[in-house]
Amino acid sequence: MSTADIVILALGVVAIGSGVMVVSTRQLVHAALWLVVSFGALAASYVVLAAEFVAWVQVLIYVGAVVVLLLFGIMLTRAPIGRSEDLDSGNRIVAIITAAATAVVLVTTLVRGFRDAYFPLKARVGNGSSSVIGAGIFRTWVLPFEALSVLLLAALIGAIVLSRSDIGPEQAEPEPTPPARPRSRPPGPLARRKPRGADDEDTIVISRIDEGA
């Protein structure tokens, strides 16, 4: 077991531990912060694995952008700051079983498959430098790169369209007092509701159909 192995293991423990905290903490903001720790540990792992360019991109985009975006989301949805007891859904038992099964299957398979797999890390130094990666992207992978840029643009426009309320189909002004509960179908058949007026033909017709069905 080399030094690199030990460092990787330590960083892995940090990443997994903080990941567990992300999915188990009772405070939303803490979850975002534990996510930063997990991403940082992964970035450090990339450095150990001699992929320094990917490591910096990880730090820049994940830690710098994505987490900030998530924090914005938390704020915009007026999530409660502080402890909240109902962050886990009723699906928890199933989730634990599924996740554990996934872990067991994956770990068993990987360990059995790569028990004797080693690679010389020292010989790989320089493989992850920005010049090598840049050359790779803009020579070999330039077409996917361009396609990805178009996709990014589409995602950008989509996000704008989705989040701005003055774009899109004509929609009625939100009701003055929006219901607290999600809107669902009315509890009973339409016929049970009182018609708004005796001469309201639509309502009468609907109620007739409903009785006939």
């Binding site: 360019f53 070999t140 995602a155």
Partner: protein, 109 residues
Amino acid sequence: MHLVYPVVIAAVLFSVGVYGVLARRNAILVLMSVELMLNAVNLNLVVFDMRWADRLHGGQVLTLFVIVLAAAEVGLGLALVLLIYRNRQTVDVDRLRTLHEDREEGARQ
């Protein structure tokens, strides 16, 4: 360097992400768990790129692409979450049940 350590770390991290996706109620927390899963995949990609060390560096480049995709995904995902919040005043995943089977209608058929 032993290949098993980083690969097992990635697998466990992925499973943690799976748990988060399945168990968390807040949509933003679900998104975070998705990010965890993506990162586990990224770690895998980098490790195997280093193992084979071919001329194309496909693993690292794909990692970069996935990072970009993750960013786009988070952007769109958050936009959707905000839209849902604006319409429903909640982002709890298990309360968004418009997809469920209409019991009365089913019984009548």
